[in-house]
Symmetry: C2
């Protein structure tokens, strides 16, 4: 598995718009095992995204999806900072297929 | 929903032990909707945990579970730093029950 944790900071007042863009662009992402989108509880302009993919190639391929390519310019217009906090190798998880439920 | 992103740094050579402790202690956590455990890809002593709970009270209650209480001293012995990178309000996610699959 391949994963990442990203911190996305939006221009003021643009977080809801970004949440909408993320949800639209996340449709039909082959190989995506988990994709959690969360608002920062203390910073109203920040969103956290934690992704788990079966392999890095699936993540890379997702960037070529029409929905994602369509979303990029809309996102760039309202993102003030995109930070890859970590690139990861997910090990297991509640909610991940293929790992035993707890 | 309530969530957090945590960065756990272990003493050298102790990451696998921590992964084992996390997996054991995560058994039977009521209200836990997603719990992704991932190794940092570039720092061999770091683990990332992204949690999603139905509500904060469920997370707090989990700390009283016997498996968790049992794990805490074992974890403390090998953790060099535990950092809550973010407290979050998860919005939706692939792999989260109750949100539509993509």
């Amino acid at each position: 598995m391949w994963g990442m944790v990203a911190k996305i900071t939006l221009l003021p007042g643009k977080r809801d718009e970004m949440l909408q863009i993320l949800e639209e662009s996340a449709a039909g992402m082959q190989g995506c095992l988990s994709y959690v989108v969360a608002k920062d509880a203390s910073d109203e302009n920040t969103v956290w995204v934690t992704e788990v993919w079966d392999k890095m190639a699936s993540h890379d391929a997702s960037l070529s999806l029409p929905a994602v390519k369509n979303a990029v310019p809309r996102a760039k217009a309202i993102v003030s900072n995109f930070e890859r906090i970590a690139i990861t190798t997910p090990v297991w998880g509640v909610g991940l297929p293929g790992t035993h439920a707890h």
